[in-house]
Every structure is written in C-alpha cells, then in structure tokens.
C-alpha cells in the first residue's frame, strides 16, 4: 500500500464502517428532527423527501481519483454513488441495516454456481447513460477489465486482479482487441464472472465502484476522471483538477430503475483544497454542509463543538471501524521470544493510548482485540488483560519478562509517523508505560509519505534497524471479517520491496485459516472463522491493539435525511437532502 496508504489513511481510507456505537436498536427509518448529540447515528436525523437546492461539500485535500475504476478511498466510494451505479451496493440506511447488500445496476445479488467459482448478475431494464445511450453488460465487463490496467489506473484495489480467472489477460489497454476470459456477457443484460477459486463474498466485490459501467468509446484512460460518464442520478457539469467539481442532475437517469436513490438536491458543489480549520468554521456558520473527508472536525474546533451545547447537538460521534494499533516485530531480538512480546502487551497503559488519540469521544474505545465491535462475527476478546483499570498489569508483565530471560527488561526501538502528533503521543505513552517494567524504548519518527514504502513497511529496513514496535492504523475496506482483516494479518501480503500495511503478522496457521474463511460460503460460519483468526493473531502477541477509532463529526445547518452509513463510517452522501 505504499506511500499512498499514508495519505489514504489520513483521509479515512476505504470503506471503513462504524456507527453501531450507542444503541443497536433498529429504528427502521424512524428518526427525528430534534437536534441532539448522536441524532444521526443509528437513525435518520431530519427525515425528508424534499427535492431541490445546491449541496455544498468541501474537503481539505484531493483524494486519489473521481474515476470509479481508479479509487480506493472510503469517501470516494461513498461519493461516487452519486454519478455511478455499481452492480451491487450496500443498502442506503442507518445502523445495522446498511450491512445488507442489494442490487444496484443488477436486479439483485449475484447467483453463485460451481460452488462459488462462477457468479452471474442480471442487469435491470431501461438503464441509460447521461447521453441517453443504453447501458449494457458489455460496458460493465469493460469497466472491470479497464480497472485491471494498474499501470494507468494505479489507485484501485486489486480484488478483481487477484480473484478473477484472467488466464494472463492484462486489460483492454495493453491487450487491445482481446476478450477478457474471466467475464462473459451472453446477452446485453447478463454478466458472468469466473473466479480462480470459490469465494463466498463476491457480492462485496461487485459493490466496488469499478463495476460501474464505462462506455469503451468514451474511455479516456488516465483522463477519464475529468468526466466519468454518468450512470447515476447526477453527472459532471465541470471539473477543475485539485479545485473541485460540480454535479448536476442527469436527465437520463430514471427513478423507476433505481429503488435505492432519492436524489434530493438539484446540484452538488464540491470544493477541494479548502483549509481544514476553515471547513469547520464554515460548517458551524452554515456555508458548507458536509466535510466529505469523513474524519471529523479538526482539534481546533473539537473543544468548541463539545463545549457549546448548541454545537454539540449538531455533532455525531460514530465508530469508524478503524483500529489504531502498534505492530510488534517478532523478527527483532528479544521480541522474537513470545514471552517478551507478551510483556509489552501486558505492561502497556491503554488509557494513555486512548488519551493520545484524543480521549473516548474523539479518540475511540480501548481495543482488546483486532476486529472492532460492529464487524459481523465480532467477539469480545481479552487475551492479554491490561489490569482492571486498563493501566497495565505490571506483575503479569514482569512474570513474562522472567520467562523471556530478561527479568530486568530490555531495550528496543519504536517507529512512528513523524507528522502525526497522535502517533508520536502513542510512542511517548508506550515509552512511559513500558518503562515501568524496564522495557526502554528509543523513539524514531519517520516521514508519513515513506513510512510503509521505505521504513517500517520494508522488511529489510525494519529488521536491520531493529524497529521492535511500530505505530499502525487500519480501516476496513468494508464491514466484514475479510474486509477488515485480510490485508493486515495475511502474511502473504508482506512484500520484500515494502509497502504492505501488515508489519508483523506472518503466521502460517493463520494464512491457512484465511484461505478456509475465504472459501466458506455459509455467512455465519464465515464470521466465526474470522473471529477465530482474530483470536489466533492476538495469542501470538504481534499486534498491540490501541483504540477502536471514533470521530466527532458535525452536521450541516441545512441538511435533511442525515445519517452515518456504517459501511463508510461517515455521513451517507447519497441520502442527504436540503431544507
């Protein structure tokens, strides 16, 4: 994931979900217009069907791309549903209801055959692009095929590259005129995917925006992002790189073909590159309606929002399905001894970890395992309890040090991303709390941009430079065990060239367990498999979980139909309307 991951993570990487936080009661479309703290978590705030108005979105930094086949940001997956339609999508609803997948372009979910190796989707009737031409299954095939063109479209996930039975096919740019052997389109409304091996969760893949149709004649490769041809209710009116874009109604989108979208505003103005603190001010003042970075208000506005009852009533505090953690490197002595790793797990003061991230509201809940609560299959783990008050169990830690043969402690290095004050605070908190049992940390800051590519993420560098502990952070691609765990606990994603977010987990037994969980088609058994993987990784003491992240987000003054979508861990951009 390289350097981009650093940037990605700051912006609320990929579909990290959350929001099941406070009450899991299913309020079934209920909701109220009474402003209150968390009024848009698990329920709809200000429900309305009123159409019209110009929705003003803002974000401080540009994300990877508006091209549906070239994007891996959660906010982008959330936003792209305005101008594209993928084969499937998560139900547009608050709370647990959003974890249900439904058909979008497709009439319903895929039909697996061949034990889950072949997946067939049937497109709805009457689908059209913004120019009125019909959308066909061929266009979906082309869209997925072009997303394989990683040398040109560099940003997207590689799920299709990894799972489709491509037989060496590289994509329509490099293999011009050849057919993609992994995708068949027997007629204009039917599309069939052939996989290398059975995979029960393929409907999760087809909700990725890269299945949104792209007409081959209009594909401009790397420049397509300047005007993706709309299949959704809105289309690009203008696009200015790094400054913003305007979406207007797509006259050829037909409500009759689309049960999932209300399409309330008439227009969306997206401003890119607005000063982050200024966005908060304008949210408070009402000139912007949503900060689409989806990571909550800046520290400067946080105390103001929480301290002012009127502003606090406009704020929400959802879970984001992100784990902030510390990787423990088992290749560096004496951490190659599991007892020494256990000592680290036991001695860490979790309350300091939480404070480093901003406390229980802005930081999150103290984590005791990997998968955040809210991921299907979540089981409360506590493999290495850090005492009754979460301040660390020093006696147990000293015992572990004895067993490790380092009774008076040891010295090691701790890496963190220098430009991230919170991670620096974590490093200092661990330095302090591990110091109580004689584990001495030397703190080393590395640049965000190269953290995974050159330093902590590069096996040769981290082992030679004896980086024993490394701060880390991960948000799920989507809300299930695979989406959360596969990229951080599968040892096979570690590359000698660097770049992987997995800094410390390479357990052959876990790799086998992952393969079994992937092939499992029974949903509840699959969820149990992932929970077992979580537990097995925790036992190995190679990840010290810190906090399950939460954020403090502010609702706009003019917005209606506001709720946090658990799949993205941020406001649902598609549902929102204006007063």
């Amino acid at each position: 994931m390289g350097v981009a991951a650093g940037a990605v993570l700051t912006l609320g990487l990929t579909a990290c979900s959350g929001g099941t936080s406070n009450d899991n009661k299913d309020t079934k479309g209920g909701g109220s217009s009474a402003a209150a703290f968390n009024a848009a978590v698990g329920k709809v705030f200000n429900p309305s069907d009123k159409k019209g108005g110009v929705m003003k979105f803002a974000i401080s930094a540009d994300w990877d791309s508006t091209d549906p086949g070239d994007t891996y940001y959660g906010l982008s997956w959330n936003l792209s549903r305005l101008y594209t339609r993928a084969l499937t999508m998560f139900k547009v609803a608050p709370g647990q209801a959003s974890s249900e997948l439904v058909g979008d372009l497709a009439e319903g979910l895929g039909t697996p055959t061949d034990g889950g190796k072949t997946w067939t989707y049937k497109l709805r009737q009457g689908l059209k692009y913004e120019d009125g031409t019909p959308i066909t299954a061929k266009d979906v095939e082309y869209a997925v095929s072009r997303s394989l063109e990683k040398p040109t479209l560099v940003n997207g996930p590689t799920y299709f590259d990894d799972f489709l039975d491509l037989k060496g096919y590289r994509g329509p740019y490099r293999d011009k005129g050849k057919d993609n052997p992994a995708i068949d389109t027997p007629d204009d409304r039917t599309i069939v995917f052939h996989l290398k091996k059975p995979f029960g969760g393929f409907d999760y893949f087809t909700q990725i925006p890269s299945t949104a149709p792209v007409p081959q004649a209009k594909d401009t490769g790397a420049k397509y992002k300047q005007h993706p041809i709309s299949s959704g209710p809105y289309m690009f009116k203008s696009y200015s790189a790094g400054k913003g874009f305007v979406l207007v109604r797509n006259p050829n989108w037909d409500q009759a073909t689309d049960p999932n979208r209300k399409a309330l505003p008439d227009e969306y103005d997206v401003s890119i590159g607005v000063n982050a603190d200024d966005i908060d001010n304008q949210l408070i003042a009402g000139t912007y309606q949503v900060d689409i970075a989806g990571t909550g208000v800046q520290p400067a506005a946080l105390s103001r929002v929480l301290g002012d009852p009127t502003l606090k009533a406009r704020a929400d505090n959802p879970n984001t399905l992100r784990l902030n953690y510390t990787s423990i490197n088992p290749n560096v002595a004496p951490l190659d001894n599991i007892e020494c790793r256990k000592a680290v797990m036991l001695a860490a003061d979790k309350t300091l970890y939480q404070q480093a991230y901003g406390g229980p509201l802005a930081g999150g809940d103290i984590a005791t395992g990997l998968m955040p609560p809210g991921v299907p299959g979540f089981q409360k783990l506590n493999v290495y309890p850090s005492g009754p008050d979460n301040k660390g169990d020093l006696n147990a830690a000293k015992e572990a040090l004895q067993k490790c043969g380092q009774p008076s402690g040891f010295a090691t290095n701790m890496a963190y991303r220098a430009e991230r004050p919170k991670e620096k605070a974590v490093a200092e908190a661990l330095q302090q709390s591990l110091g109580r049992v004689g584990i001495k940390l030397t703190l080393k800051g590395f640049p965000v941009g190269d953290y995974f590519a050159l330093y902590a993420g590069k096996p040769s560098y981290r082992d030679q430079n004896k980086l024993g502990l490394m701060t880390n952070s991960w948000g799920a691609d989507w809300n299930d065990g695979f989406g959360f765990l596969s990229q951080i606990v599968d040892g096979r994603v570690i590359r000698a060239t660097g770049g992987s977010s997995n800094l410390s987990v390479n357990i052959p037994e876990v790799n086998t367990m992952i393969d079994e969980a992937v092939a499992e088609t029974d949903a509840s058994k699959k969820n149990q498999d992932w929970a077992a993987i979580d537990k097995r990784v925790m036992e190995e003491a190679v990840i010290l979980p810190g906090v399950w992240a939460k954020q403090v987000a502010l609702r706009g003054t003019e917005t209606t139909n506001v709720f946090v979508n658990d799949q993205y861990g941020m406001y649902d951009f598609l549902a929102m309307g204006l007063k």
Binding site: G2, V154, G242, A285
Partner: protein, 337 residues
C-alpha cells in the same frame, strides 16, 4: 539602456536555468543520497496496491531509471518542443511550453499554472497597492511627527503587524469578519475579475487586508527610517532655504530619495508574491500558485513543484529587472552605464 536590458535579460535566463537545476536536483538527487532507489521514488505514484512489476513499469514510464542529466535534459527539452504522454487509451500531447506533466493528476502543468495565476496575481497586486499606499503614508507621517503620539502608536501597531503570522491573523479575521459579522466572504471563495469586478473585490478584500497588514507594517517602518534620514540632509535645508513650500520639500525632495530602497523591496516582494503567497492562499483556501505548489509538495508531484518554482523565479527576475530600470527614473544619482 538597450544594452543594459539585454545584459540583464541574458542574466535572467541564466538565473532561471540555475534555479531549475537546483530544484530538479533537490527532487532527484537528495532522495538518492539518503538511499532511496528509483523504485522507491516511483512507488509514490503507483497507488497502494502496486506490485514490483508495476513499480518497475512506472520507473520506466517516468524515466526515473535514467541518469540525472538525461532526466533534466528531457524536462528542459519538453519546455520547447512538448512531450507525449500515454494515457492508456491514447497518446496525450503536452504542447510547448510543456512545464511537465503531473505524475498524480495526469495532466499538463502549464494550463494549471495559467488557470491559477490570476488568483495569485489578484491577491498580490491588490494587497501590494494597499500596503504601499498605507505603509508609505504612515511612514511619512510618523517621520514628520517624530516622537508624537501618532508616531509611537503607528510604530507600535507596525511592530505587532510584522510579528503576527498570517495564518493566525487570517484565521482570526475570517472568524470575526466572515463568520461573526458576515461582512466579508468566507474562505475558499474567488470570483474571476472578468466575471464580476465587484464580487471579485468583495471576495478578495479580507485576504488583501490581512496580507497587506504584514507588509505595510514593514513598509511603514522602512519609510519612516528613510524619511528621517533624508529630511536631515543638507539639500532639504537648502530647499527650505529657497523658500519652497513644505509640501514640495517633503514630497519632491524628501520622499523621492527615501523611496529608492522602498521601490527595490517592493519590486522583490511583488515578484515573490506572484510566485505564490503560500500561507495566505492556504489560510483563505484560494486556489492560487502557492496552494498549487503546496499540494504538489504534499503529493510529491514533482512536475507541479518544478512548474511553480520556475514561474516564481521568472517573476522575481522580471521584478528585479523592472526595479533596476525604475531606479534610473526615480533616483537621478543612478546611471545606467
């Protein structure tokens, strides 16, 4: 005069070449010195999921495997003859003057620069007029009433103005005047002047004043010092002895001499600002050259940074040239030959 200008022009071109070499060197050589390989550099531009093969392809496509001088030469050549870039489906031609092709945005840098220059120019010239007028006026009055309450107050405020960073005054001004009182436009709004001059001025007034506050403070102090010095000169006494009106003495004899260093600094300041008022543009979210450069630096998008740097250097060099020519007009003591 003509030989003078030609000589300076040749110097200007050489300066630009050297600036471009240094910027290029910083981007290409410094990472190598600390041990980054071509693949490490390329990995910044290939997304999170790239494998070694894709990184290698990016190294080749961006020419990162070639020696420093070859890369620099192809960048330099593109300015004059343009450059072809593969967008996957077609070959995109970046026509001369091709100041590079953004690694991240996948578009030529030059049109972006042209698009953002008016924002920066609006900011720089508007603020420059305000600070020049107010700074010089306050400086002159302070000098003439040396030691008075006005002088002390003005110089006190000026000291404050010089000391306050723009990212602080900017945010405070926004909170008070835009979000509190609603008198001025919120951050991030910019209307091109050709679209509506009144809205343009309304949108820009707060950035102008904030930026001008910083500079006018410095100019007031500079003018005051210069005026105090010249007003003590013998020729001022002579002028007064001739029976000239005090106003003429101050403006024609005193101010004209005191202005020479002001003009020098003014030229350089405006030139610098035209290359991008980074802090002001970031604070007020103005999509100008400074913001563009910052975005480029954050994303390690070298061609963007090269483009802004070169343009900024160009403005400084041109401003210097104009200042030198103006010297001759303002200060009779300066001779061109």
């Amino acid at each position: 005069m003509v030989t003078f200008i030609i000589r300076r022009l040749i110097g200007a071109v050489l300066t630009l070449l050297i600036v471009s070499m240094i910027t290029f060197g910083i981007f290409y050589l410094v990472p190598r010195w600390v041990g980054a390989t071509a693949a490490d550099l390329a990995s910044r531009y290939v997304g999170r999921t790239a494998n070694a093969e894709q990184v290698a392809a990016a190294v080749k496509a961006l020419g990162l495997d070639k020696p420093f001088y070859v890369q620099y030469w192809s960048w330099l050549k593109a300015i004059f003859v343009g450059q072809d870039v593969n967008t996957g489906t077609a070959i995109d031609h970046c026509p001369a003057p091709c100041l590079g092709y953004s690694f991240i945005g996948r578009n030529p840098v030059w049109p972006d620069l042209l698009d953002r220059l008016p924002v920066t120019a609006s900011l720089a010239f508007g603020a420059a007029i305000i600070w020049l007028l107010s700074g010089v006026a306050i400086g002159v009055l302070s000098a003439l009433r040396r030691g008075s309450v006005f002088d002390r107050a003005a110089m006190g405020v000026a000291l404050g103005g010089v000391s306050l960073p723009i990212f602080w005054t900017g945010i405070v001004c926004l909170v008070i005047f835009s979000y509190g009182l609603g008198w001025t436009a919120p951050g991030g709004t910019y209307t091109p002047i050709q679209q509506n001059p009144a809205t343009w001025a309304y949108d820009m007034i707060l950035p102008w004043i904030t930026l001008a506050l910083l500079f006018s403070a410095a100019y007031a102090r500079l003018t005051r010092a210069g005026m105090l010095e010249t007003m003590g000169e013998d020729y001022i006494r002579t002028a007064r002895a001739k029976g000239l009106q005090e106003r003429t003495v101050v403006t024609r004899h005193g101010l004209r001499a005191a202005l020479t260093p002001i003009v020098t600094i003014f030229g350089l300041d405006v030139g610098l600002l035209l290359g991008g008022a980074v802090l002001t543009e970031s604070t007020f979210s103005l999509p100008g050259l400074g913001k563009y450069a910052i975005d480029g630096i954050i994303a390690s998008d070298m061609p963007k940074v090269m483009g802004v740097t070169l343009l900024a250097a160009f403005f400084v060099v041109v401003a210097n040239l104009i200042v030198d020519v103006l010297y001759a007009v303002i200060d009779p003591r300066v001779r061109l030959s």
